[in-house]
């Protein structure tokens, strides 16, 4: 996909992907033009339009600072694609799957840390008869199980949201797509490949 124009440019080279999809004239200062190029942008916009609607997305973007709009468009496209793939759960299913992975890993970590702690304890002198001299090994079954339900996500949602807005965290897309803040959705084939992998991974989880 070719790079899109800078945010302040007009649609001199033909309609943007959004206006192409909407079959309307792409005016100078079109809010969608920097983020939906005329090639694959139309396909991305089709998904966004189907789920959110053009006017809703336009209003959303107008309320976002200009330097954040590229990220907003990427996340909106991701949600739209996820919703079209899974009309019932959208990307909530991916969140639940990741949450379960976190719980599983933390349980495993607790078990392993407890095991390490037993190894680092000073060992008693060896007994002549070793019938049951050592403590029974820890079993993962001894640890409490945590089974999150689909919608018990508010503990994740609320603190993470406030953490996100209150602290200077790196942008999610720095981690997800490893792109600088000035990039656009059409700016990098690597971004696209990563987004594809992410979406495929979300689809299979």
């Amino acid at each position: 996909m070719s790079s899109s124009a800078s945010p302040s440019s007009s649609c001199g080279g033909g309609p943007c992907g959004a206006c192409k999809f909407l079959r309307r004239k792409c005016v100078a200062g079109c809010i969608f033009a920097p983020y939906f190029d005329s090639e694959q942008g139309a396909a991305h916009f089709a998904a966004v339009h189907k789920v959110f609607g053009a006017s809703n997305v336009s209003k959303l973007l107008q309320h976002v600072p200009e330097h954040k709009r590229a990220d907003a468009v990427v996340s909106i496209c991701f949600e739209a694609q996820a919703r079209l793939r899974d009309p019932i759960y959208g990307c909530v299913s991916h969140i639940v799957s990741l949450q379960q992975q976190v719980v599983s890993l933390q349980t495993e970590l607790s078990y392993v840390q407890a095991h390490l702690a037993t190894l680092e304890l000073p060992q008693p002198p060896p007994a002549p008869v070793t019938s049951s001299g050592s403590p029974p090994p820890l079993s993962i079954l001894d640890l409490p199980t945590i089974t999150p339900s689909l919608y018990e996500l508010s503990p994740i949602f609320e603190p993470m949201s406030s953490t996100w807005t209150m602290q200077q965290q790196p942008r999610p897309f720095d981690h997800l797509f490893d792109v600088p803040s000035s990039s656009t959705i059409g700016g990098s084939s690597e971004l696209q490949a990563l987004a594809r992998d992410f979406l495929h991974g979300a689809n299979s989880s």
């Binding site: 189907k50 789920v51 959110f52 609607g53 006017s55 809703n56 959303l60 309320h63 976002v64 954040k68 990220d71 907003a72 990427v74 996340s75 909106i76 991701f78 949600e79 919703r83 009309p87 019932i88 759960y89 959208g90 990307c91 909530v92 299913s93 991916h94 969140i95 990741l98 949450q99 992975q101 976190v102 890993l105 933390q106 495993e108 970590l109 392993v112 840390q113 095991h115 390490l116 190894l119 680092e120 060992q123 060896p126 689909l150 919608y151 996500l153 994740i156 949602f157 993470m160 949201s161 953490t163 996100w164 807005t165 999610p172 897309f173 981690h175 997800l176």
Partner: protein, 121 residues
């Protein structure tokens, strides 16, 4: 106006028909739920989405739409994708810590074996 209108029809200021697609999922006791969904998706889009899925799955769909809409209202830039990113970061951190702890166990076990060999000799 029918006092038993669902939250959606109340918000949209219209009559609530008996077969209203929204009424099972938007009780009048929770007006904010529909307001949030309407703000992000629009009533028409939500209605179309619900019509395209089986009736027995619509409640779950509304809950997930409500969650995503709420995330988007709270975080207009990243929405619930921000949560996905944070969870992925947490997974990576935990995996790193797990690998490190497992390596420490290997070292500790090796030290323990060496100590036993030394004591034997």
């Amino acid at each position: 106006m029918n006092p038993k209108r669902c939250a959606a029809c109340k918000y949209l200021r219209r009559r609530c028909p008996k077969d209203c697609i929204f009424s099972p999922y938007f009780p009048p006791s929770d007006p904010d739920k529909f307001a949030c969904i309407h703000r992000i998706y629009g009533a028409g889009n939500v209605s179309k989405m619900l019509q395209q899925i089986p009736v027995q799955t619509r409640a779950e769909a509304v809950e997930s739409l409500s969650f995503e809409a709420k995330c988007r209202v709270e975080d207009p830039v990243y929405g619930c994708v921000g949560i996905i990113s944070l969870l992925q970061t947490e997974i990576q951190k935990t995996q790193t810590l797990l690998a490190r702890t497992q390596a420490e166990i290997t070292v500790a076990q090796a030290k323990h074996s060496q100590t036993q060999v030394n004591e034997f000799m």
